[in-house]
């Protein structure tokens, strides 16, 4: 007997999640237009550790959700990634049920 599993539902829901008329919007990631959901940009001081503080620099962080299938290689820690023209470094990248959750950090001035 054919059983539809929870994972099947999640995979099916990805279509809605990344539908450009629903949640996702096209974002330019490393020169390619990719449907993505970008979580709010959080600006904060670089660190509470005074040895890691630098004059004039603060840290911006943003989380991006994309379909794993839209990427040939999964981004790795420290990789440079340009989101909508702005340069970030990959802080974290998790893959869950076909979705990549990419945390990006930027030192801004």
């Amino acid at each position: 007997m054919f059983m539809v599993t929870f994972k099947d539902f999640i995979t099916r829901d990805l279509v809605t999640f990344f539908n450009l008329n629903e949640f996702a919007e096209l974002h330019n990631i490393d020169g390619r237009e990719v449907p993505a959901i970008v979580d709010s940009d959080i600006l904060k001081i670089r660190s509470d550790n005074r040895y890691e503080r630098f004059d004039g620099v603060y840290k911006g962080e943003v989380t991006v959700y994309v379909r794993a299938s839209d990427f040939v290689n999964r981004p790795v820690f420290g990789q440079h990634l340009r989101l909508d023209g702005k340069l970030y470094l990959v802080v974290e990248c998790n893959e869950v049920s076909g979705v990549l959750e990419i945390v990006l950090g930027a030192n801004e001035s």
Partner: protein, 152 residues
Amino acid sequence: MITPVILIDELKTFIEEVVQNYRLETNQQNNVKPPQVVTGYLPPKNSGPDPDFPFVIVRLAEGVDKEEGATVTVKIIVGAYSEDSQQGWRDAANMIQRIWQELFKRRVIARKFRVEYPMKFEIPEEQPYPHWIGVMTTVWTVAHPVMEEVDL
């Protein structure tokens, strides 16, 4: 007067001349400029168009007064910007090299402040890419308060 605050102001003027011909990257495309030289701290952040980087900060750090004389330590913090990780640290190091060279070629600035050995500099291993920081630590002879005879 040979006070630490006047030293900082004179050092700012001196460094401005030393770095005026530099053309360094900013975080804006096609905008290269000499580093801004500021005393103490960078101005408060705003959303204006002027980038903070590149810069040289002349910062009074500490002082020591002994019987034989008084000295103050001045940190000269250089900041460069480059997405090219082979260029950014070089820009910071070149600024340090240039200031170091000009300071120790003369030893005395504004005819009254003498820079002493040793001079130290550091380019921290951890850098806030694409910003590049270097720190020079310089020691200067300053006025030494002397005891006055007072009638009680």
